[in-house]
């Protein structure tokens, strides 16, 4: 199943949906998705690079490269590849405006 984003769901498609918010907009993912999978089901990337013009979409998926840190509305960042997506999560692709 080709998604609106980067990923193609090849298996395990019969899971319950979870809803989360990305930059304030409601998005759908499946129970058991990581934040990385959930975001890339509707986007081609996770965040902007701090050091260049390009987008980043994760790299190692095993918690070693730290390419996939994304922002949450309440402040703390999380590593998208190793964090499960949960109902009602509020994620951002850019730092909160209040960030210094």
């Amino acid at each position: 199943m080709i998604t609106a984003g980067r990923i193609v769901r090849l298996a395990e498609r019969d899971r319950a949906q979870v809803q989360f918010f990305l930059d304030g907009e409601m998005r759908h993912a499946l129970t058991g998705d990581t934040v990385l999978t959930a975001m890339l089901a509707s986007e081609s990337a996770l965040r902007n690079s701090e050091f260049g013009p390009e987008l980043r979409a994760g790299f190692c998926l095993m918690g070693a490269c730290q390419d996939c840190w994304v922002w949450q509305e309440e402040g703390p960042r999380l590593r998208a590849c190793s964090t499960p997506a949960t109902e009602g999560m509020r994620l951002r692709t850019t730092p909160p405006e209040s960030w210094p």
Partner: protein, 455 residues
């Protein structure tokens, strides 16, 4: 003595090596603590999807399904029976004087040990290619984890590049799962692959299985290819520009690239615990030194791909051996290890064959244009690394300070080998002489709040 009554033994990593080490200690009546970053034990190669996923172990692990099932069942049983303590989803971020700093759910906990078994595994050995900083470039391991643990492909049209067993395996797994794999580019030419033949003959079944997997790739597989550039547009990767063995240019549209040249041992914790290192010419990387059982000294033992890149079967054996060494050092009886040592020697021969057949692409790295990015974390370029070498000389840590290569959030895991290659080329010396980046705690990023809550 507290050590003889109830020694505190900590195992870091719950892959094949860590699980076998734990089981061996439990059999001897000890209660190890197993710290692992995964939510469920298994490691990377036998990684398990989250609860509620339905594919069978045959679908997930192919020919290795029985081994995966056995390891998972063994570990789960020991954990359920309370014969070991499993700290899941936890990272050891520092090790100092018999104490580990462990980052769990937001807090750092200090765990003391009398004996430490490090089974930290390996990750992909990657090499920079112009354009690899763009979204949609992943390691081969990432492509496999996405498929295994999430049931997804990381792109609609995929090009894989690199060399080594994982290149063929991931390609075949993706094709079988129905992903659109446009090309599999092996940077090792056929004549190089044949040079590894005698080593590979040490495990003929595994070698033949590899060839059978490669046959599934059909016309997508190219030996002796060179990936010259990864093209990108506003949404990430858009094409791979490469040459085949005959020198013909190709432009293959794709939105995902998976890359990897065999494996890189994960050695940060071995470094922090004071292990000595030696440069391995064949693997082209620094590896910790141990005796044949995995003893590194000072109550530290190493097992699995974090010390010798022998794959999952070798890791199981090495885990048993490290635990046996630990037991024997504690003055406890152990079973005979001769058969395990023999098996390990055969796997070592096979692994040397692999290293020879599918080498690190040194020439490709040395030919990188100055503007190409070497460090993906902070976009440090090849030019900056070369300038650092010109200014500071051919020493790894000086170039690190001058250029910031290896100082990003991955702490050099994905740029160190390429950076050292560039410094060696610039200084006219060998990578061995350039040295290695010193490991620094914390070896994973940790929020400052985790330390504030500690006291």
């Amino acid at each position: 003595m507290s050590e003889t009554s109830s020694p505190r033994i900590v195992i870091v990593g719950a892959g094949p090596a860590g699980i076998r080490a734990a089981a061996t200690l439990v059999e001897a009546g000890l209660h190890p603590v197993v710290i692992d970053e995964g939510q469920r034990a298994g490691g990377q190669i036998y990684r398990r999807p989250p609860a509620g996923f339905v594919r069978t172990s045959e679908e997930l692990y192919g020919s290795e399904a029985a081994k995966a099932r056995a390891l998972h069942a063994l570990f789960d049983r020991l954990a359920e029976e309370g014969r070991l303590t499993h700290c899941a989803g936890s990272s050891v971020i520092a090790a100092h004087e018999g104490r580990l700093h462990v980052l769990g759910e937001g807090d750092v906990e200090v765990i003391g040990y009398d004996r430490l078994i490090l089974a930290t595994g390996a990750s992909d050995r990657v090499a920079p290619v112009p354009g690899w900083q763009n979204g949609g470039v992943y390691s081969l391991g990432a492509a496999q984890i996405a498929l295994k643990a999430q049931g997804v492909a990381l792109g609609r049209r995929i090009v894989l590049v690199g060399s080594g067993p994982l290149l063929t395996l991931v390609g075949a797994q993706l094709v079988k799962a129905g992903a659109n794999v446009a090309a599999v580019l092996d940077t090792s030419p056929w004549r190089q692959q044949m040079r590894g033949f005698w080593g590979l003959a040490a495990s003929p079944v595994v070698a033949l299985r590899g060839l059978a997997l490669r046959a599934r790739l059909g016309g997508r597989y190219y030996a002796g290819a060179t990936l010259e550039r990864i093209e990108a547009d506003a949404s990430g990767v858009s094409a791979a520009r490469w040459r085949d063995a005959g020198g013909r240019e190709h432009l293959t549209p794709c939105d995902m690239i998976g890359m990897g040249w065999h494996l890189r041992a994960e050695t940060h914790l071995a470094d922090l615990t004071g292990c000595a290192f030696t440069y391995d010419e064949q693997w082209r990387q620094w590896l910790p030194m141990t005796d044949e059982m995995g003893r590194a000294g000072d109550g530290v033992y190493l097992a699995g791909d974090g010390v010798r890149l022998l794959g999952a079967d070798g890791a199981e054996i090495a885990g048993r051996l490290a635990a046996a060494a630990c037991l024997s050092d504690l003055g406890r009886p152990t079973s005979c290890v001769r058969a395990d040592l023999r098996k390990l020697a055969r796997l070592e021969r096979f692994a040397r064959g692999l290293a020879c057949a599918f080498p690190w692409p040194a020439a490709m790295v040395r030919a990188l244009p100055d503007e190409a990015i070497v460090c993906r974390c902070e976009n440090v370029t090849a030019g900056a690394v070369r300038e650092g070498a010109n200014f500071g000389g051919g020493e790894a840590n000086r170039v690190k300070s001058l250029s910031r290569v290896g100082m990003g959030r991955c702490q050099g895991r994905y740029c160190q080998l390429a950076a050292v290659e560039l410094v060696a080329a610039q200084g006219g010396c060998t990578p061995d002489a350039v040295g290695r980046f010193r490991g620094q705690a914390p070896v994973r990023p940790a929020p400052i709040g985790a330390f504030l809550r500690e006291g």
